[in-house]
């Protein structure tokens, strides 16, 4: 096993470019996106038709009590003009106890805005219904929870971006490393390995260990750099962090084995990897929150995507400080996917032996 394991490293050190490239890309993208996030949040144009001026200003001020959004006072005519000219994708009409979106084209920030407004208006409505002032709020626990969730959503989104990008690029690294199996299958060296007295189990475990470790190192170093450079906090639960990464990486190696087993040539694999990685990142919530995926069949498909559960469990650990019990579902789903992918992979690889 160690012979095979060491040999992989030897080969890597002779051709480290692919791995270094994906590693560099991870840092680049996340730094870029991370900085984008830390600038004052989403700008939202608003107007009102019924609210008196001071009430409108007060409401906007109340809404701007967050770093995630920047609500602007405007008038209906200007706003509608901007939307008509595609200068704005959406705006909000604010009234006393209700709000309404006018939408030109769909945008990622609209659902986030909606979620935020919904929470604030619930609070406002509740206060109105009970004829209370805001000072009361501090004493009410349930509302505190609500408002914490609100500010949490931005952190959660940032966490999702960082985790999503990291997992997306680590998928590339691991899968492209696994291309060497396909190469060895075509150039005959795979057979040569099978001919050695090293048992299959040892060959596979040596390879697995290598792919796993290289992925792990990439994720680990990325996270470390995000902590140091971007001041991003990954929480305190290091063991759950490691566990989540591990479950994800195991499923990716299994996915890679399945891909290797069904392609005929390394070239085919080279074409398939970006498709699989990008599609699963899109459907698994690495590029945008999963709520944007609305097609039922796409949603059904996303259940078979490891990155979805990887992001889910990691951002739960980072943002919500959950306990291991809360992660049993994503973990077992990842394990299930590992078994399916691995099973299919082993079956087809062994079947090629006539």
């Amino acid at each position: 096993m160690w012979t095979i394991f060491m040999m992989q490293w030897k080969r890597l050190f002779k051709q480290p470019f692919v791995v270094l490239t994906f590693f560099g890309l991870t840092l680049l993208f996340v730094t870029f996106l991370g900085q984008g996030q830390s600038s004052p949040g989403v700008t939202v144009q608003t107007y009102t038709t019924n609210l008196p001026n001071h009430a409108y200003e007060e409401l906007v001020e109340r809404l701007n009590r967050t770093d995630d959004f920047n609500f602007k006072i405007n008038d209906q005519e200007t706003v509608e003009g901007l939307i008509r000219n595609n200068r704005l994708s959406f705006a909000v009409q604010l009234e006393q106890d209700t709000y309404e979106f006018i939408v030109g084209q769909s945008s990622f920030s609209q659902p986030l805005t909606n979620q935020y407004l919904n929470e604030v208006y619930q609070e406002v409505r509740w206060l109105l219904a009970n004829d209370l002032t805001e000072d009361v709020l501090e004493t009410f626990v349930p509302l505190e929870v609500t408002s914490r969730d609100t500010s949490g959503s931005a952190i959660e989104f940032q966490a999702q971006v960082i985790v999503g990008m990291t997992l997306y690029f680590v998928m590339y690294t691991v899968l492209f490393q696994m291309m060497s199996i396909a190469e060895q299958k075509t150039d005959g060296t795979w057979e040569r390995m099978m001919l050695s007295p090293v048992s299959k189990f040892n060959i596979y475990s040596g390879l697995f260990l290598y792919y796993f470790l290289i992925g792990f190192i990439q994720v680990g170093v990325s996270f470390l750099i995000f902590t140091e450079w971007l001041g991003f906090s990954f929480g305190e639960q290091y063991s759950l962090l490691l566990l989540s990464i591990s479950f994800f990486l195991i499923s990716i190696v299994a996915l890679g084995l399945m891909l290797v087993s069904v392609v005929r040539t390394p070239q085919q694999l080279q074409a398939v990897i970006p498709i699989v990685a990008t599609a699963s990142a899109m459907l698994g919530g690495a590029f945008w929150p999963l709520e944007f995926v609305t097609q039922p069949w796409l949603l059904a498909f996303s259940r078979f995507i490891p990155i979805r559960y990887g992001i889910e469990s990691l951002s739960d650990v980072i943002v919500r400080s959950v306990a291991i019990n809360d992660l049993l579902v994503p973990y077992s789903l990842l394990l299930g996917l590992t078994i399916i992918f691995g099973g299919v992979g082993f079956y087809f690889i062994e079947k090629q032996r006539k």
Binding site: M7, D187, P197, V198
Partner: protein, 297 residues
């Protein structure tokens, strides 16, 4: 018995590559496995190595099943293919070490340095740059660096120059002296003839002849070249084949059991010159494939 193959069958789709091969290799013997290209040598060997699944019959090495117990068998044997595949971005030396390592021995304490010198091999270059012959050297050096009971060599010298070929033959003989067993496949008889104890000849997926080289020679006919004053008439004479007359020279073959009879028969004529030749395996081979040629493939 080291290798025991009985009625081994293998089909590739509709192609019957092996139609029931029988082959035994005894301990301490060098066995030549001869046949033209496409006869089924490599297929037989790949079945022996457990790389292919058989469609019928039995294949055993060291009394173990070749498919089921492949790993156990591989611990005790070495294999050199005709087409050696290497990891392109590792150097020859690294691959040799890797092979020795995978065989469970320590590359440092093995005899690889000696073999590298004997084969005049440069281990410092990347495998991608090696010629076929150099790649074969990598496999040969790795195979003979480790202690194995059995060497299975599938046309291992097809890319070597004659000097290296001789080195290879010397190496094989040394293994025999050490009591090792060798199965050596080839489509060139002269290559095998000089070092083998036994041969098995395969044609179209069937063994058509096998035994010790000596026994097979007994089966063959002796070539006679005779010059005589008068015409020879063999119609009364038993065991004479393929009579050809060229000017005053007569060429014919005689079954070994009838040599004495033919000689005394020739006493009736005024023979001016008599020459006999021991047939090489080449001749034997030709005779077996004559059937093919006449049948028109």
């Amino acid at each position: 018995m080291i290798i025991e193959v009985t009625d081994l069958k293998k089909n590739f789709g509709r192609v019957q590559a092996l139609k029931g091969v029988n082959l035994t290799v005894d301990k301490g013997r060098i066995v030549g496995f001869i046949g033209p290209n496409g006869a089924g040598k490599s297929t037989t060997i790949r079945l022996l190595l457990g790389l292919l699944r058989k469609d019928g019959g039995k294949a055993k090495i060291f009394g173990l099943d070749c498919y089921q117990d492949a790993v156990e068998i591989h611990k005790r044997m070495s294999y050199v293919p005709g087409d050696v595949n290497l990891w392109p971005n590792l150097t020859g030396g690294e691959v040799i070490d890797l092979f020795i390592d995978m065989q469970g021995e320590d590359p440092k304490s093995s005899r690889k340095e000696e073999l590298i010198k004997r084969f005049d091999f440069d281990p410092s270059r990347k495998c991608r740059t090696y010629s076929k012959g150099n790649r074969q050297k990598v496999a040969l050096i790795a195979a003979f660096s480790v202690e194995s009971e059995l060497y299975i060599l599938d046309e291992p010298t097809s890319g070597l120059d004659p000097l290296m070929e001789r080195e290879f033959q010397a190496l094989v003989k040394e293994q025999k002296a050490l009591g090792k067993t060798v199965l050596l496949s080839s489509h060139i008889l002269s290559e095998v003839e000089q070092i083998c104890d036994d041969v098995a000849i395969i044609r179209q997926g069937e063994i058509i002849e096998s035994g010790s080289i000596k026994d097979l020679r007994h089966l063959t006919r002796t070539q006679f070249i005779v010059e005589a004053v008068e015409d020879l008439d063999f119609s009364e004479c038993q065991g004479v084949y393929d009579v050809v007359k060229d000017h005053d020279k007569w060429y014919f073959q005689v079954d070994h059991r009838h040599i004495a009879g033919v000689l005394s028969y020739l006493g009736n004529y005024q023979v001016t010159k008599l020459e006999t030749k021991e047939p090489t395996l080449e001749d034997l081979f030709m005779r077996h494939y004559e059937g093919d040629a006449k049948g028109g493939v």
